[in-house]
């Protein structure tokens, strides 16, 4: 734009009036767009709640605690999908968090400088691979490998442990909660590790240098300086990964085994909320069945909402700390 160097009086008045009008329009446009985002959230929650009302009305609270799923007689309980969703996500987190932590450290502290950017870029690229491709790989490559080499060992060794052993007993199917957890872990690691990498960068060099000056090893610096400083942001990143794991549909459907029976063993098949929707929505013949699947969608929405809200709060706490520093 060109501003006249010495504007004439009436011209300036017109310009000010025009600018004021434009600014008003501009702010209006901005506000509309922001409101649209709000509408998207309300629309998603509202439409799934409305679509699932038949199921909520019919089953009430029993919907959440019943494990009986019978499409023939119109009896639906969401316990198994909820359990499957939570267990696979938990398992994925147990595997993904330490590994992501290791990768983030590797990329911020250990790897030679010239290697850091390319590897970080590669990890981020992998976050973009469509999830359906992870599912195909899980079914055709990972599952046979697990069935032949890992499941028997898990069953023999971990299954023999007292107490927790029951979690690991089962036939070597190669599919089930363990496989789904593994695939999910591989999928969320790029996410969690890039968040961690970013927050590790926020640690003031001053702090690290001081610790080194006191004679700490690198590992001690990480453990005693970097991690405490970034704790809440790291947890926030983990929760973001958890949100992704909870709602992952395509990859999980391929490898989870999709059984509606409840089983506590991780080697056994189960179902998750998203996989049940993907499996049954197109062929749901009764209104109640369809409504139940939509109600499951609403549940999934609520669960991820809560998880993400917690993640946000934790990340905000770090931002505040950074602001004070």
């Amino acid at each position: 734009m060109t501003l006249p160097a010495q504007p004439t009086k009436p011209g300036e008045h017109r310009r000010i009036a025009r600018d004021a009008r434009n600014d008003l329009l501009f702010r209006g446009a901005l506000l509309t767009c922001a409101l649209l985002v709000l509408a998207a959230l309300l629309g998603t929650a509202g439409s799934t709640l409305w679509g699932g009302r038949l199921a909520f009305e019919t089953f009430g609270w029993k919907f959440l605690i019943s494990d009986h799923w019978d499409a023939v007689n119109g009896q639906f309980g969401a316990l198994v999908p909820i359990w499957g969703t939570l267990m696979t996500s938990l398992l994925a987190m147990l595997l993904a968090v330490p590994i992501s932590f290791g990768i983030a450290l590797f990329l911020t502290e250990v790897a030679p400088i010239w290697l850091r950017t390319p590897i970080a870029a590669a990890v981020e690229l992998l976050a973009g691979i469509p999830s359906i491709i992870y599912g195909m790989w899980g079914l055709f490559v990972l599952a046979p490998f697990l069935a032949d080499h890992v499941d028997p060992w898990v069953n023999d060794k971990l299954g023999a442990l007292p107490g927790v052993g029951r979690l690991f007993r089962g036939p070597p199917l190669g599919i089930g909660m363990l496989t789904a957890g593994l695939v999910l872990a591989i999928m969320v690691i790029p996410f969690i590790s890039s968040v961690m990498r970013e927050v590790f960068h926020t640690v003031p060099t001053r702090l690290k240098e001081s610790a080194y000056a006191l004679g700490s090893t690198t590992w001690e610096v990480v453990w005693n300086i970097v991690l405490p400083y970034t704790r809440s942001a790291v947890i926030g990143g983990i929760f973001l990964g958890l949100g992704r794991a909870l709602g992952e549909t395509m990859a999980v459907t391929f490898v989870l085994g999709n059984a509606h029976q409840f089983s506590e063993s991780l080697l056994m098949p189960s179902s998750s909320i998203a996989s049940v929707i993907a499996n049954e929505f197109t062929e749901a013949s009764s209104d109640l069945h369809r409504s139940t699947l939509i109600a499951l969608g609403f549940l999934l929405f609520v669960v991820t909402f809560i998880v993400l809200a917690i993640a946000k709060l934790l990340l905000l706490r770090l931002a505040r700390k950074e602001g004070n520093a």
Binding site: W69, P171, L173, T253, G257, A259, T282, A284
Partner: protein, 340 residues
């Protein structure tokens, strides 16, 4: 700058869309069963080359197909389960079979090749109910005197997605086992008492291939293409049969269509001596008084062409074309029931 350009583009886009919506729709749309998707889409390609009419078939599942035709948004629906007389009457719909396919049990047991294992309906039902737990169970040994069956546990694999394959398979189990009928029933997805669920035929066959000592069920085409060990089945007359196109056609030919109003008959456990017991069909569903007569006419032309000239395409995809007797019945049904 960028904003004004963008808003201009958006305006153009909107304008374009208004014109697009106003333009007249051409072509026939159908929706429903995924079982018939390969053959219907192949037929529509050839039909398009011959006549120029475009048939767009969407495999959204039988439930979706029924919903769409009831809402009158497609020219025909396709369902793996027939509609009841009340439903047809209430919406003024008619239905007729389109093509036939066979469903076969497949096993992964060491040393047992394709077509070796013999199964009967009740034994199959007991396996899928978890009553028969091991391969060397006396009931199985009795059916297979010459085979060496391992003492290992049987893993059951079923479909996890709602499907016409499951519908016909469970319908058959219900017909041969009172207990199955009472405790489980039949439908596109049922409460399976045991086993793991694979997504689609691919999921089931992948699981059966990977899990030793497993048993599942897939469409015949799938067993053939994947070289899986399908089984023999005892049919309604007590004969053991290998699955074959002839056996599926025999089931369609011997099923009592004449007695079934609106072809409302599931042809599992068909009475013919050489009829494969788990044979399935898919029904096309159309309005008896069409909303758009011209579209309806093209749709009938399409199915007439498919029934009379579409056999090669169907056979190439391992479907069985309808036998001539059934085609005659369907054409008679069109003349008496449909206005077009």
């Amino acid at each position: 700058m960028s904003l004004t350009l963008k808003s201009r583009l958006a305006a153009l886009f909107l304008l374009g869309s208004v014109f697009a919506v106003c333009a007249h729709a051409t072509g026939i749309t159908g929706a429903g069963s995924s079982f018939v998707y390969p053959v219907l889409s192949k037929w529509s390609v050839v039909f398009n080359q011959k006549t120029g009419h475009q048939i767009n078939y969407q495999s959204i599942g039988s439930g979706g197909g029924i919903a769409q035709i009831k809402a009158g948004t497609v020219d025909f629906g396709a369902s793996d389960a027939p509609l009841s007389a009340e439903d047809l009457g209430k919406f003024g719909l008619g239905q007729f079979p389109v093509v036939i396919g066979g469903i076969v049990p497949v096993v992964n047991v060491e040393g047992i090749g394709a077509g070796k294992l013999r199964l009967s309906g009740p034994v199959l039902a007991e396996i899928f109910m978890g009553k028969i737990k091991t391969w060397n169970d006396p009931a199985l040994a009795q059916l297979n005197p010459g085979l060496k069956l391992p003492a290992s546990a049987i893993f059951v694999v079923h479909r996890s997605d709602g499907s016409g394959t499951s519908y016909n398979f469970t319908n058959y189990l219900g017909k041969v086992s009172g207990e199955w009928q009472k405790s489980i029933g039949f439908g596109t997805s049922v409460p399976w008492p045991v086993g793991v669920g694979g997504k689609g035929n691919e999921g089931v066959s992948a699981y059966v291939k990977q899990i030793k000592n497993s048993i599942g069920y897939v469409e015949y085409a799938y067993a053939l293409q994947n070289k899986m060990a399908y089984t023999q089945m005892e049919n309604a007359t007590g004969r053991f049969l290998q699955p074959s196109n002839a056996a599926f056609a025999a089931a369609a030919a011997t099923a009592d269509w004449a007695q079934a109003k609106d072809f409302n008959l599931i042809m599992t456990n068909a009475p013919g001596a050489s009829a494969w017991p788990i044979t399935a069909t898919t029904w096309a569903i159309m309005y008896k008084t069409p909303k758009n007569a011209a579209q309806s006419k093209v749709t009938f032309a399409f199915f007439k062409w498919a029934f009379e000239h579409g056999q090669p395409q169907a056979l190439a995809l391992d479907y069985v074309p309808l036998p001539d007797t059934l085609v005659k019945q369907i054409e008679a049904y069109w003349h008496t029931q449909f206005k077009s």
